[in-house]
């Protein structure tokens, strides 16, 4: 019985992130539009877009291979699984033990790997541009991410996100410099990994500035829908991670009762909405950088991560 319950809780989270993901995009777009004095589309527009895309015919280039056709599913599945394993509304779900934060980074890398290959499959110049830049950015973002992971897991003595979140809820965290640095670093990585301004512009179709969009240029129909959904999921995942680690309050603890879980869901939705809005607000205040400025941006994130780790030793030894 307990088994079924926990399986249900896990299943609910999978569905929850899937349901929330387009909403996050919608909120961001809406807030951005409002901040730039436009009305903007409804926050549910992304759902409509996805459904429309899924209904359309899929047009595939003549020379696209099986990899091109399979990649969207793998990308989507990998990100979905990763998102399902990040604590959102409750800690210690049954399968959260099967993957710690390092594995989640690994799953995202898996998704990116296949997306990048898909970008190269048709053999167009734009696919190449996008892929090559994406891999360059990720090669810098991943170490930065790992350094932040180091900081957090050294602090919590664990790499399990649930344990980290649980540790952050306890009183003995205090206000640590390391935590602040890690937060800043994680935000920067989130921006870079999800192709947000100032690293990439999800709204652009100006060829030479595209990164993510260039990679998926050849996709259409249901494939594109899956990829768009996967991108939204990835953003949700990062926001969930930010909130669960740095704003852990309100998450239901392991083995909590149903009402507490319900409260957890509600609080999660509030947190994610706020986070989306903050992200949107940030995006309107900055301009997109040149590609090679991204290097400095991410190096800064890496430095933050390293500094956070090292300061941790200092503060611990005092």
């Amino acid at each position: 019985m307990a088994m079924i319950q926990s399986l249900l809780a896990q299943g609910f989270q999978m569905m929850l992130v899937l349901a929330v993901a387009p909403l996050v995009i919608g909120i961001i777009r809406k807030v951005k539009a409002r901040l730039s004095r436009r009305i903007g589309p409804s926050i549910f527009q992304p759902y409509r877009d996805l459904i429309r895309l899924a209904r359309k015919d899929t047009v595939v280039a003549h020379n696209a291979s099986w990899l091109f056709l399979v990649a969207p599913y793998i990308v989507f599945a990998a990100i979905w699984v990763a998102a399902a394993l990040v604590p959102t509304y409750a800690l210690g779900l049954i399968f959260s033990w099967s993957a710690d934060i390092i594995v989640i980074v690994g799953l995202l890398a898996l998704a990116r790997f296949f997306l990048a290959l898909a970008g190269l499959d048709v053999g167009t110049a734009f696919g190449g541009i996008g892929t090559s830049r994406e891999m360059m950015i990720s090669s810098l973002a991943e170490p930065a991410m790992l350094m932040i992971v180091f900081t957090l897991s050294l602090l919590a003595q664990s790499t399990q996100l649930s344990s980290i979140a649980h540790y952050m809820m306890t009183a003995d965290v205090g206000l640590r410099v390391s935590c602040g640095l890690a937060l800043l670093g994680l935000v920067m990585v989130t921006i870079a990994e999800n192709g947000r301004v100032p690293v990439d512009n999800p709204a652009t179709h100006l060829e030479l500035t595209m990164v993510h969009e260039a990679m998926i240029l050849e996709y259409s129909g249901r494939h594109l829908a899956l990829i768009e959904l996967a991108a939204a999921l990835k953003l949700t995942l990062y926001l969930s991670m930010l909130t669960c680690v740095f704003l852990p309050w309100g998450i239901a603890l392991n083995g909590a009762k149903l009402p507490v879980l319900g409260l957890g869901v509600l609080i999660y939705l509030i947190k994610i909405t706020v986070a989306s809005a903050v992200l949107a607000a940030f995006e309107v205040t900055v301009a997109k950088m040149r590609v090679f400025r991204v290097v400095d941006f991410l190096n800064f994130a890496l430095m933050l991560g390293l500094l956070a780790t090292l300061l941790l030793f200092v503060s611990r030894s005092i």
């Binding site: 999978m14 899924a54 015919d57 899929t58 047009v59 595939v60 280039a61 003549h62 020379n63 291979s65 099986w66 599913y73 989507f76 599945a77 979905w80 099967s98 993957a99 710690d100 390092i102 594995v103 690994g106 890398a109 898996l110 790997f113 290959l117 190269l120 499959d121 053999g123 167009t124 110049a125 696919g127 190449g128 541009i129 892929t131 090559s132 891999m135 360059m136 990720s138 090669s139 810098l140 170490p143 991410m145 790992l146 180091f150 897991s153 664990s158 790499t159 344990s163 060829e207 240029l217 050849e218 129909g221 249901r222 829908a225 899956l226 991560g305 390293l306 090292l310 030793f313 611990r316």
Partner: protein
Amino acid sequence: MDLPFALCLVSLLIGAAALVAPVAGRSWASVALYGLCLGVSSLLLVIGLWSLVAMGGGAEAPLLWLPLGIPGQGVHFRLDGLSAFFLIVINLAASAASLFAIGSGRHEHAPHRVLPFYPVFLAGMNLVVLANDVYGFLFSWEVMSVASWFLVIAHHRQPENRRAGYVYLIMAALSTQMLLVTFGLLSGFGAHLDFDAIRATPPSLDIARLALLAVVIGTGAKAGLVPLHVWLPLAHPAAPSHVSGLMSGIMTKVAIYGLVRVTFDLLGPPEWTWGAGILLLGGTTAVTGVLYALMQHDLKRLLAYHTVENIGIIAIGLGLALAFRANGFQMGAALALTAALFHVLNHSLFKTLLFLSAGAVLTATGERDLDRLGGLIRGMPITAFCFLVGSAAISALPPLNGFVSEWLALQAILISPELPQWILKFLVPMVGAGLALSAALAAACFVKAFGAAFLGRARTAAAERAVEVERSSLAAMLILVAACVLAGVLPGLVVDALAPVTTLLVGSHLPNQITQPWLTLVATTPERSSYNGLILMVFIALSASLSAFGVHRLASRRRRRAGAWDCGYPETSPATQYTAASFAQPIRRVFASVLFSAREKIDMPAPGDSRAARLTLTIRDPVWALLYRPVAVAVTTAAEIISSALSLSIRQHLGLVYGTLILLLVVLALWQ
């Protein structure tokens, strides 16, 4: 009985080499020989597995003595946990490579240059891990080097292969000589040559330090630690592909075996500085190795540079294990050592797989240049699949095996702050960042390699016409694919098998994995960290099928083929695709402009000028310029100086003799 049987099998290999030499040209010789090698390797694999399992049950390591080699000392053999593990590593890859060669061997245009040396090469590697005395070890070590050297220059008509062979054999000799130094120091200056005696009398600290230095150079030169790696990207691609696979996949591991055997087994208790040194070396090797690889456009050379990277990762694990052991953290040492040895196994699997796939590509197209391939996924779907799995594994992507060892290494890094030394506290996270960087860059590099070779449109007619290679070759690759997946989803089995090895070397082992719920991999405690490749794999498969099912059922399932969209640009020539070099351009600009002084020179003709524009890319390897060229220049200059100084007439030579005589007499007069 397993040790004598193993030695009989090895001598069977050597006998086969002698027998096949005269008939190497016949068509059946290659099939027969590789078949035999396959059989022998499989049996040795079984012996290794069986011994390791028996060792897990507490069995003693069998010993054997033969009255060969150095008179009075003989040759000693021993099959302990470490040897058994490396026996498995060697023979797993060796049997796959042999199977591959059963089919692909008939494409070899110089079989007489390959067949006699291939079994000797296998025999040499097996003997190295079985030897239990200095002479036997070095003898087998050098036999391994010489046999592989012959394989490297098998296609000697290409001048670059000859150069590769030259550099290779000199570095191999350097390696042997440095190991000779190591053992000279350890064996009490030649007093006792068998390892048991060395174990019984651990050297003093000063001697141990010198020996460590020598052994790091000695095995590093063979394994490819930066800056001793220069031969590796030259030599590995030069050999026939299945041999390249073995050289990269397992010969470098035999070198790692040497390093582990000496540092953990023979050298006595370590100091933490040793660990720090190897850690730093490993980190440097990992990052520079992968950066080198990114700059390559020759498929096999790219793979060879990745070997350098992976050797660096293994060295990181070993260095950590030494540091932990020096501080008495046996648990941490066991974790780091397990990570390193797990990576040894993994790398042997996926690197052999990748080289075999590259060999299939080479056989099918005759090309190794990525910029002359493309679109092979259509003509060679199975090879493409195999290469894809190998790429994913080497890029440390879950749920494949490469990720597991990387994960274990990161877990080991995460418990390093418990080490008391501040240098280690700071160094280890940096190395961890380096590890992450190298994994990310490896992913980038394999996106490039797979993309350029298998995806896109064919850049040459040869790539256009490519078809799959023989069944047996495909089977060999698929077996390795299966091994990669298995080791990835059931890592607990491997970790458990490594328990006797780590117990032997550092006196501790990881928690028993087979008893963990859901076959989860646990590094130290489940609260701290855990990973379950199996569940992840099932999850991904489920979600992927679920989404596919959902999309197909609930939405459109129609599909139409059309021209590529490409932002509306018309269909262009395949030459407009991103090449390997252009793919690497952003990364090159970020990382290599300082390290490799990479420069791009664009020669753009003036408007109206009809000549073609040219882009020249120059990359300089700093190691050659800083380390090897000076040595070469010094030797040639010294040779020149000496030979011109001593190019004398008879009378002057007489004068020399006379001078020597007077000198000696003066010395004598003074001495008296």
